[in-house]
């Protein structure tokens, strides 16, 4: 009993630690990446105790210290309680969603099997969407509690945008759920280890390409990043919903955005890119389609899988940064038109076509 609880606590700590740290590193990657794209040098001024050698480490240390030392300002006519609650509401869903994302297969320690996933819920996908739907509150409440016109405009924009894209996101995943026939993330990843025609891994991207395009677009919109950063829109409404935020609370909004980015990357990996699957790697080693077999020890297999998962997540995080610094911002009516008139009908079409194909294949065999 105690051991079981300890294992769950250790897994939860590991995942939270990874997500928060990756979010912090992404803050640095975003600054350096933007500099790379705009032909600048970027973030190289931080020197801790007169030592400016390691850019990454120094910036990682200096950024949060700077945020935390700043004055925490609450607008005098605003709402003290909700103004403080809002950043917590923004950060919370991003951190808990990762609980159902499997980061590896089972790890065998002696006789004990450890499932490398914090919580194995049989309706895991539903849990993800339930938590995602709560992430709107941080923006709406923060915007309202600031008692500022620009904040309120940002909050109204944000809530409408996120509700609109949640619909498209949910419907695009239905196709994947139909193909793999389960709501359990771990089960979805296992199914993606099968081979199509004996050599092609059955990853979601290959079986549901349209669903991936829709999901990716909706995921960018949900993280409120360019080209969908209308709730912030600094050239129109100052800084949108976080205009009146400073210091540690602003840092929490900021970290929330990056944590959401990491979680979206994890979701895309899990649903469409085989999660922890390494092509042709099964529990005892590599089995290549041309007949070669490399046997590997159990620990090496697990480490390869966890490493592969991390690599895929980091790739998608980088893609988010790349998108942000290459695309211009949409106009608001364009955002609404894209969500309701393009993504939603396409997602419905995808569900219908997938259903027909599944019925035909089942009756054919």
């Amino acid at each position: 009993m105690i051991v079981e609880l300890g294992i769950v606590a250790a897994k939860a700590l590991l995942v939270i630690f990874m997500v928060l740290n990756l979010a912090g590193v992404m803050g640095w990657v975003e600054r350096k990446g933007s500099a790379l794209i705009q032909d600048r040098i970027g973030a190289n001024r931080a020197s801790v105790l007169g030592f400016a050698g390691l850019g990454l480490v120094n910036t990682l240390l200096a950024d949060p210290i700077k945020f935390l030392m700043k004055e925490d300002f609450i607008p005098p006519r605003g709402d003290r309680l909700l103004h403080t609650l809002a950043p917590c509401l923004a950060l919370f869903p991003a951190l808990v969603t990762f609980a159902v994302i499997p980061f590896g297969d089972v790890l065998m320690v002696g006789e004990r099997e450890i499932n490398l996933q914090v919580a194995n819920i049989n309706v895991g996908i539903l849990y993800i969407f339930a938590m995602a739907s709560l992430s709107v509150y941080g923006i709406v409440i923060g915007a309202w509690a600031s008692n500022n016109k620009f904040s309120l405009l940002g909050g109204v924009r944000g809530s409408a945008q996120m509700i609109s894209y949640e619909v498209a996101m949910g419907l695009s995943v239905i196709g994947v759920l139909m193909v793999y026939g389960t709501l359990e993330p771990q089960q979805i990843v296992r199914s993606q280890g099968e081979l199509l025609g004996g050599w092609l891994p059955a990853w979601g991207i290959l079986l549901q390409p349209l669903a991936f395009v829709l999901f990716f677009t909706a995921a960018v919109a949900e993280t409120k990043r360019i080209p969908f950063d209308l709730p912030e829109g600094e050239s129109e409404i100052v800084a949108g919903f976080h205009t009146e935020y400073s210091g540690g609370k602003f840092l929490m909004f900021f970290a929330g955005e990056f944590a959401e980015m990491v979680t979206s990357a994890g979701l895309m990996t899990t649903l469409f890119f085989g999660g922890w699957q390494v092509p042709y790697l099964v529990r005892d080693g590599f089995h290549f389609p041309w007949g070669t077999i490399w046997l590997l020890p159990h620990l090496a297999v697990v480490l390869l899988q966890v490493g592969m998962f991390t690599l895929k997540v980091v790739f998608f995080c980088w893609l988010f940064v790349l998108l942000r610094w290459t695309l211009p911002r949409f106009r608001y009516d364009q955002v609404m038109r894209l969500g309701w008139k393009m993504l939603l009908p396409l997602a419905l079409l995808n569900v219908m076509v997938t259903g027909v194909v599944i019925v035909v294949l089942h009756n054919g065999s």
């Binding site: 709402d79 909700l82 819920i121 049989n122 309706v123 539903l126 849990y127 969407f129 339930a130 938590m131 995602a132 739907s133 709560l134 709107v136 509150y137 709406v140 409440i141 915007a143 309202w144 309120l152 909050g155 109204v156 809530s159 409408a160 509700i163 949640e166 709501l183």
Partner: protein, 161 residues
Amino acid sequence: MILFFILAALSVIFSLAVVFQRNPVHSAMALVATLFLVAVLFLTLDAPMVGFLQILVYAGAIMILFLFVIMLLNPEALERRRVFWWGLGSTAALVLIVEMAALLSAIPAREGRIAAVAEGFGSPEMLGRTLFRDFVLPFEIASVLLLVAIVGAVVLAKREL
């Protein structure tokens, strides 16, 4: 059991806050908390699917629309006629209490332990089978009704369409 009482007490406190808060945004947030706690109660009752749907639909989508409307309309303009609303609210509450008491006394007292849940209870498979095999006609009628309501709302809101 202890968990149930903590959750129940918290949800009662938050639902009282919904009624007694002066500020409509505070009321709405208290309602979100209540719905969330009821969802957790569903989880403890072996119905994770219903619990997560409760968060997704009620706490997530519908309450955001409530907040949206509260933020767009100026709620201070609705502060008048307090006495009338108090009267109406207390009458409705009284009727509900009497009804609940009547219902609860009609259920025969149960001896001993409550029966264990069946295999696969509350799973998506069971829910889907019940909904789309046994109750498919009511389900379809309900969806048509919702469609009519949506079309009606659009027609009313956009007269010049």
